[in-house]
């Protein structure tokens, strides 16, 4: 497959077009700061959800500790930008690497476990990371880390979202991705076919953590302020909900899920007391009536475009 195939060029043009539209709307002030804030949150959630989808949807490993990698990324970026005065790109690279390293350290022991046990073990690791962050004075402890320079903007956000989707999509379509899918379907059979299941499980976990680190950096450098409590297991559950809501194993589903769930919680803000109750009911109804998620395993195709071009 050539890189410069028609399909890829169209996709690239579409990506640039959406970017340009967003940029123009921001410059013209059509998008006010409130909408911008929500777009940032949606973008960060997309990166997190796509990363977790690789672990949970595609490789089939329950993880309830994804927010911890985001925390590692956020704190690393905060330290590099606020304490060391480094540029955002340097901070982001280090955040992603730090989160990926955390992924290796947590992944090697826990990925031997399966199902609910794995979920609880990752939840435990996530909480441990949070508690450690709460107790380190250098990064603010329970008071939180303040005065982080604001670097995240539409350009950074958009291209990081695109990067995460493109990398993970290509990984899924590669040899490694196939191996991951086979693990999710039947681990024993995959192993019998000669797939090094441990290696691919850890690889998926590390890639997911890597992008969660980037999401954390974007988050920290947008909100000036981070505190360990924002990265508790409820955040991990939120991300997992996006993945399941959109459709396990569908990357387009994660994107749609992140957007739809963010919009739902935006509309629910008008009834703050009942927001979480309604959210819980929606979640429940989805799980009962459409447990495969909004898109199931489906992906968006550019078929309608291809027809026109061809």
């Amino acid at each position: 497959m050539r890189i410069l195939s028609k399909k890829n060029i169209i996709t690239a043009l579409l990506i640039l077009l959406i970017y340009a539209v967003g940029e123009v709307m921001l410059r013209q002030g059509i998008i006010d700061s409130y909408i911008e804030l929500n777009i940032m949150l949606i973008g960060i959630n997309i990166i997190l959800a796509v990363g977790l989808n690789l672990v949970t949807g595609i490789t089939g490993q329950f993880s309830l500790g994804h927010a911890a990698f985001m925390a590692v990324g956020a704190y690393t970026s905060a330290i590099f930008t606020a304490k060391f005065g480094q540029s955002f790109i340097v901070a982001m690279v280090f955040s992603a690497i730090a989160a990926a390293l955390a992924g290796v350290i947590i992944g090697i022991p826990t990925l031997r476990l399966k199902g609910d046990y794995l979920a609880i073990a990752t939840l435990g690791f996530g909480e441990i990371i949070k508690i450690v962050a709460l107790n380190i004075d250098y990064i603010g402890g329970a008071r939180g880390f303040m005065d982080i320079p604001k670097y995240t903007n539409w350009t950074w956000l958009y291209f990081m979202v695109v990067l995460s989707i493109v990398v993970i999509k290509n990984f899924v379509d590669s040899r490694g991705g196939r191996a991951c899918i086979s693990i999710s379907q039947d681990e024993t059979a995959a192993e019998a076919m000669g797939i090094n299941t441990t290696k691919y499980k850890i690889l998926a976990f590390v890639i997911g953590a890597f992008f969660a680190g980037i999401a954390g950096a974007l988050y920290a450098n947008y909100f000036y302020f981070i505190k360990p409590d924002s990265f508790g297991y409820m955040k991990s559950i939120d991300i997992l909900v996006i993945v399941v809501f959109g459709g396990m194993g569908s990357i387009a589903g994660s994107v749609v899920g992140a957007i739809v769930l963010s919009l739902i919680s935006l509309f629910l803000q008008s009834i703050p007391e009942l927001r979480m109750v309604v959210y819980a009911v929606i979640l429940f109804l989805i799980m009962v009536y459409r447990p495969q998620g909004l898109l199931g395993k489906g992906e968006f195709k550019l078929k309608f475009l291809r027809k026109r071009v061809a």
């Binding site: 826990t110 609880i120 441990i128 508690i131 024993t188 979480m276």
Partner: protein, 292 residues
């Protein structure tokens, strides 16, 4: 030495609470393989029912405890019938998220009705300190331990000496086979939820009496801790859950007593992870080989 003994007493009280909640987790997991995240919230609602009984109706400790246990059992059955029955056949992850949604629903629904602020539990048991040598034992500690032991003995009796208990054991071994033997699996699952929720409700009232304060999110952490306790003992195994609860409670108070109270949750999770890595079936569990 006195310090250690004193902390041991506090630890046993906390451990009793964990053990009571853990029993519900372990029974439900044993029978339908579901981490019932809402279990911690039933414990919270039990505490509120106890609070309502003692504050508004002026009941004493034991009547309030019984009312709360019965209402929690009913609530547990309702949760099971409404929320968990439709998803019994669905995937693990759908079940997990349903459990989380039920938990959120109970937490925030309760918060809507009782307001988020912390409530002070009335003094239903006048505090009396009994000095044994150099160790001070509060009468609340004694009440908690006695109630817990009585409830556990009753539970053991129900599980080993009644028909319902036998049905529960059979269903948890093999629900298909149990059905073929004429056991009503649906009723058995409901009975399991009722028993587990009943114990959680009792734990809720006792926490209210012991620590004097309750709030709508109080169930989250003890819920997870109790699950850890259940895993330590070996999930699905009843004596294991009791042991795990006491071990966790005592460890936590010891860690706090020696000045690391900020790390007590981390220690609980570290125990969990070590346990899962070394002996995932729990201290009391038997290793079952996976068959293809």
């Amino acid at each position: 030495m006195e310090q250690v003994l004193q902390q041991l007493i506090n630890g046993i009280s906390l451990g009793s609470i964990y053990a009571l909640i853990a029993l519900g987790y372990t029974m439900v997991y044993g029978i339908i393989n579901l981490i019932n995240f809402a279990h911690g919230d039933i414990y919270m609602i039990g505490a509120y029912i106890g609070f309502a009984c003692t504050t508004f109706l002026g009941m004493g400790f034991i009547p309030a405890l019984i009312v709360s246990m019965v209402s929690s059992a009913v609530l547990g059955v309702i949760v099971e019938k409404v929320a968990y029955k439709p998803i019994r056949k669905s995937t693990r992850i759908a079940a997990l998220i349903t459990a989380i949604s039920v938990s959120l629903f109970l937490e925030y629904g309760m918060m809507y009705f009782v307001k988020p602020e912390t409530r002070t539990f009335p003094e239903v048991l006048p505090s009396q300190n009994i000095t044994l040598g150099n160790v001070i034992v509060n009468n609340k500690d004694i009440y908690i331990v006695i109630v817990t032991v009585v409830l556990m003995l009753v539970l053991q009796y129900i599980i080993h000496n009644t028909k319902t208990g036998m049905a529960m054991r059979a269903t948890s071994m093999d629900s298909e086979a149990a059905k073929l033997m004429g056991i009503s699996v649906d009723n058995t699952i409901s009975a399991t939820f009722a028993l587990g929720s009943c114990l959680a409700g009792a734990a809720g009232v006792m926490v209210g009496v012991y620590y004097n304060s309750i709030d709508p999110l109080m169930g989250m952490m003890p819920g997870i801790k109790a699950f850890i306790a259940a895993v330590i003992g070996g999930i699905g195994i009843i004596p294991g859950a009791m042991f795990g609860g006491y071990l966790l409670g005592i460890t936590e108070t010891m860690v706090s007593a020696y000045g690391y109270s900020l790390y007590k949750d981390a220690v609980a999770f570290a125990i969990l992870i070590l346990m899962l890595l070394i002996k995932p079936k729990g201290l009391f569990g038997k290793n079952v080989r996976e068959k293809v």
